[in-house]
Symmetry: C2
Subunit: 188 residues, 2 copies
């Protein structure tokens, strides 16, 4: 692959990420092309359909989010790493206005995203959660998928309201996890 092609792909993904976070995933292709400093022809050369670019950005950010897990685990204690990652995950969701709609649109370009989610994010959380449970820092009666869905739903709802609400809600959830630390189930 030619060096300029790779450069442009990177620039496009970066620009798209920014534009999507600002204007939602429905932003015009031209706007993304302009911010990346390329022509629309270049966009379509690398991403035959608009949706392919959207999916590529999602995949890239899912990976980035998943990759943060081992780093956080290495730099912090198990409970702290779990908390930080959940905030990181919440921040990821927050920049995805229109994600749910896109996922349910039936567009084939998005078909692989749920699997990508499952393949990368669930294991990432799984590891952090298991470590935190093993360290006795959080309760052990909450499932990984359950927790992910909770955070996801929380952020989707919170998007409509004031910014910062997601953070507080997720923090609340984390405190809930810590509250029953070392217990099997039931209220303390």
């Amino acid at each position: 692959m030619r060096a300029d092609a790779q450069r442009n792909i990177d620039a496009l993904l970066e620009a798209a990420k920014t534009v999507f976070a600002t204007s939602g995933v429905d932003a015009p292709v031209r706007e993304i092309a302009e911010m990346a400093g390329v022509g629309v022809g270049t966009v379509y050369r690398h991403f035959p359909q608009r949706a392919d670019l959207v999916a590529a950005v999602f995949r890239r950010e899912i990976l980035a989010c998943a990759d943060a897990a081992p780093v956080l685990a290495a730099e912090h204690g198990p409970g702290e790493a779990l908390a930080l990652w959940m905030q990181r995950f919440a921040a990821f969701i927050a920049t995805k206005r229109g994600l749910a709609t896109a996922l349910y649109s039936g567009d084939p370009a998005f078909e692989s995203l749920p699997a990508y989610f499952e393949a990368h994010l669930v294991p990432a959380l799984e590891g952090l959660l298991a470590a935190a449970v093993a360290a006795g820092e959080v309760r052990d009666d909450v499932g990984t998928s359950e927790l992910m869905n909770a955070v996801g739903g929380l952020c989707m709802q919170a998007q409509k309201d004031k910014p910062g609400q997601s953070d507080r809600m997720v923090a609340l959830l984390i405190d809930g996890l810590r509250y029953g630390a070392g217990r099997s189930s039931g209220k303390p």
Copy 2:
């Protein structure tokens, strides 16, 4: 209001209902105008925004569905009326590809729809369900909203698959209601 104006509004709502059921709520305005036998200018005279037409069709069909409840209740026994209405409700959802997406789009034109739902459909089901419970034809431990959401979710999922699946699934749900008739809760 001039007679031709009212006539065109009716024709537009009817045409839109048909087109939405066939092509989804994203169908072009021109297509609806043509089927109604009017120009696009007429559409926008009565519905300033495309979304207003969509919302009007939804409201109209919600009303029609709610109005069917007392009719069914008068013509059939309580259990049968409940079953028929649930099928009717399922049929309504089935013609609404894109409803969920529209509802979550954030468009102000759709903001009032959930309230409309709550104000008309929930009471309609409430009455039928209560009557059927009172007659001892169905179990009494299922809530109205719960049941509506179940049917709604069922149909949303079933839309992607073979036609007729919704009907069978709803029928299954109804049999489930009947199975525990006269009991308070728990499995038989």
